[in-house]
Structure formats: C-alpha cells, structure tokens
Subunit: 211 residues, 3 copies
C-alpha cells in the first residue's frame, strides 16, 4: 500500500489536532478553530506545491486532506468541551501542552519526509539541497502559519532545535534511501525528527551561541 | 461587455481606497499611501495568480490595475487633505471608519467572485474546494497584506465573520452559476458578501465558541 | 565574463553578512545565524523565482548561492567572536550598525538589478512594470524575511527611502539598458540604489506626508 499516503494522512491528523488545540487555547470561535486546524494541516503542503508549481495543490486534488483536517478539528472541539467543561485554567495545564507539543512533533516528522518525497517524485531528486529544503518547508510551514495566525511567535523561531530536527530528519531520510526501501526510510526519518523534538523539549537542549 | 473586467476594476478602486485611507490614518508618507493602495488592490489577485501559476500576474499584464490603484490612492490623498485640513482627530472619526469599512466590504465581495471566476476560467472548475479557496484568497489576500504592512492585526483574524462572509459568498456564487447567467451570479455573490459584512459590523455578530 | 553571476555572488555575500550580523545582534545561536544569513541572501531570489515559476529556484540550481551564504555567515561569526570578545555593548555600537547598513545597501542594489535582469532573461522584458516589480521584490525580499525572522519591523516599512531607492534603481537600470551595454547599466543601477540609501541614512531623508 501507498506509504506516502499513510504518512500524509497521519501528518494531517496530527497537525490538525495541534492547530485546533492552539486555537482553543487562544479562545478562538468555532470557525477559527476549524480554520486553524486546516491551515496547520495543509499549510506546509500548500507552500511546497506552490514552490514546485503543482496546480491544484495536493490539499485540493486529494479527496482526503480537507475532510480529515475538518473532522480532526471538530473531534478536538468535542473532546475539549467534554473534558474541560467549566475548568478554564486546565487549558494551560501541563497535559494539554504536552499533547499539543507531541502532535506537533509527529506532524513535523511525517511532513518532513513526505515533503522530501514529493520533491523526489516530481523529478528533483538530484538537487539534494532542494529536496531537503522542501522537506523542511513542508514540515515547518504548517506550524509557522498556525503560530502567526494565532498571534504567537512561530515555534521555528522560538524553540531551539525545531527547524534543526526537521533538517536532520530530511538529511537522514535522503541518506537512508540508498540503504533501505522507501517505506522504512520514511518511517525512520520521521521517527528521528520526533525523538529529537521530544528530547529537546524535555532536556531543553540549546545550540551554542557565538557570544 | 466583460463582467469579470468590471468586477475587477470596481474591486481594485474600492480596495485601493481602503488601503490609502488606512495608510493616511497610520500617518504614512505619500509613497507609503500609494504603495499600500497598490498592495491592497493588487495583493489578492497576485497570490491567486501565483497559486495558479499565471505569469505575469494579472496586475502586470492588465493595463488597468496599476494606474487605477495609483489614481484612486492619489484621489483619496487629495480628498482627505482637502476635507480634513488641520483637524487631526477627525481621521479616527466614525464617518472615516465607516467609509474604510464599506470600501473594504465592496472589495472583499467583488474580489471573492472575481477570484473564483479566474479559477474556473483557468480550467479548475471541477475542483470545487479549490475554486472556493481561490475566491477567498483573492478576497482576503489584499486586505491581509494591507493590515500587516500597516502594522495592525489582519481583519481576517480580528473581525468575526470576515473570512466567513467571503466563504459564504464564494459557495453561493458557485451554486448560483448552475441557475443563472454568470453576470447575475457574480453580482449576487458579491452582494451577499457585502451584506453579510455590513450586517456583521453593525450588529457585531459573533460565532459560537467552544468554551 | 557573466556580469549577472558576479552581481548575484556579490549580492549574496553582502546580504548574508547583513543577515548574520543582525542574528548576532539579536543573540541567536549558531544555527540561527547561518539560517538568517542564508534566508537574507537567498530569500529575494526565491520569491522572484516562485513568481516567475522557475523550478528549482536559482538558490538550489546554482552551486554557489548556498555555500557562499553559509561561508559568509560563518566568517562573520568568527570575526565578531574574535573582535568583540567580551565586550557585549559594542554590538550596538555605531561601527557595527554602519557595516550592517552598508552591506544591506549593497545587497539591495545588486539584487535589484539582478532581479530585473532575470525577469528580462525569462522573456518578460516587454512588461516594464513587471520587470521593475521583480527587481524591487528581489532586492527587498531577502531583507524583509531577515527582519521578520529576527523579530524587528522590516526595514522596508521602517526606513524612509528604502523601497523607493530600489524602485528608482530598477527604473534607471531599465532606462540605461537602451543607452549602454548591460554590464555598465547594471553597475550604474546598483550604484544609484547604494548612493540613495547611504545619503538617505546619513541625512535622514523624508518623503512628504499628506497631513
């Protein structure tokens, strides 16, 4: 079965959840929550497809992306309304933040390898830097739109080791492609991103400064 | 006569006026006012054409857009300089805000249907979600650039029922196309957007929140 | 020899330096410094190529841009670490700001003419407004990304006579092309931008306001 499709579906759900959760935390209305879910889930792929000149972008030509993003966002709404009824401060609680962070890491990992893959499938496999860049752009793009629209500083600027994790994952994926079938390489590449992100969050990793 | 052209011309003038007015309110210099007028009038169509891969974008291939946007901005300058000479606070008065809001609604409505139309004319009529998205993008894009460049939170995020109005108008336009000639459908679709926006402004409509 | 290539190389180095310097001033980590150097150096050309539908963008198809931007950024890091060791406030000193401003002006000038040139070479020479726009976009784009990512208001909005300098340079370049060989026209056009920027900075030029 199509491994690329599976990665995109799981990434879409994960990012839509993170978008909807952030929208709820920011007290947006129902339209805003679904909108932010869609933008987060589809934003990275949208810029990737614009860069590659793919018209219409995958989010409109695929019959899955939009319905999945909308359903995931609505499911988050229902769940939050049911779980946190009345307890406003809970939204800023540790568990809520952890789930937001975790789904974001999953989305980042899956979209990084899926984006690199699309670049290869479009015939640009020989431009290694371009493939890696498109992987990063696809991974980072959705979350960047999400944060800007929610009025917070984008994670890619705020969090140490965010773009870095995506970069390492994309490079590893490209390297692993020479050694194993695509499906395994995608899974391993995405896992690397997730693990780096979670370790970096937990241990508050930093990158050395010049001064 | 070409109904698409008329819609684009009227939308260009309306959005250029709203851009120039906001620039004046924000105390920009003459270059900034004309620049913001052009960006507001041409921004939505520019992203639409980039998404569709149309090169050069309509704002450069059409002989009307740039001159119209520049002339409209300069006319606003002249009018404001003449009307409000010396009375600084007037700029934040109710009438000024109302005109800004009204021209913005007109631009939003006309560009929504014109954008959906361009998508259909480019051969993507069967991707309904894509057509609706391009309508919204064309409608919302110019005002978004305008607000970001003027350093205020984009109306699309600030105002309830802004993107929503564009969404409803684009969907209605697509539905009406099956029932009546294009010209009437465009006019009705644009009117729906304007009416929703003005009612929403006046009655301060809200969309329900999750919690 | 290829004058366009020389302009792009010099512009890349100048903009990468300005990006890396701003990143250091904003206390970013090593990854952030190199990242901001690359974004500043390659950002303008990237949007230009997206607008023109060139895939992959020049920054990935040319073997020079990325290595040059990375090396320039690292060189700035080494130099700053060596020169300013321990003296933190120096970074906000006048000399530091002057170099940042100067490299930014050089980059703006060179990318303006190089961008206009790419538009002509891509066959859009007859759309004068489009050529001028692409010159400005290429010149202004990198610095705009740089400033947004560094969390400061973009120079194009903050500084009087910034986009204006690029505009005048692009128009002059287009005019000079009729009168002299391309190489001289490019050099003169870029010089005009640099001189306007430096004079405007030094004498704090303003553009008249409406009220």
């Amino acid at each position: 079965m199509n491994i690329q499709l599976i990665a995109e579906i799981m990434g879409t759900v994960a990012f839509a959840i993170s978008g909807a959760m952030l929208a709820i935390e920011r007290k947006m209305d129902l339209f805003g929550i679904v909108f932010l879910g869609i933008v987060t889930a589809a934003g990275g792929g949208f810029i990737r497809d614009m860069t590659l000149g793919i018209v219409p972008p995958a989010m409109f030509s695929s019959p899955m992306v939009l319905p999945l993003a909308i359903l995931s966002s609505l499911a988050v709404c229902a769940l939050v309304a049911w779980l946190y009824k009345g307890s406003d401060e809970e939204l800023h609680g540790e568990r809520f933040q952890w789930i937001l962070n975790f789904t974001d890491a999953i989305g980042l990992g899956l979209f990084t390898v899926a984006g690199a893959n699309t670049a290869i499938d479009s015939g640009y496999g020989d431009y290694h830097a371009f493939v890696i860049f498109l992987g990063m752009l696809t991974g980072v793009g959705g979350g960047m739109f999400r944060d800007v629209l929610a009025g917070i500083m984008p994670a890619v600027l705020r969090k140490h080791v965010y773009a870095c994790a995506s970069l390492v994952g994309a490079i590893c994926y490209l390297g692993l492609l020479c050694a194993m079938p695509r499906g395994y390489a995608m899974f391993t590449g995405a896992m690397i991103v997730v693990v780096i992100r979670l370790l970096a969050s937990h241990y508050k990793w930093n990158i050395p400064r010049v001064m």
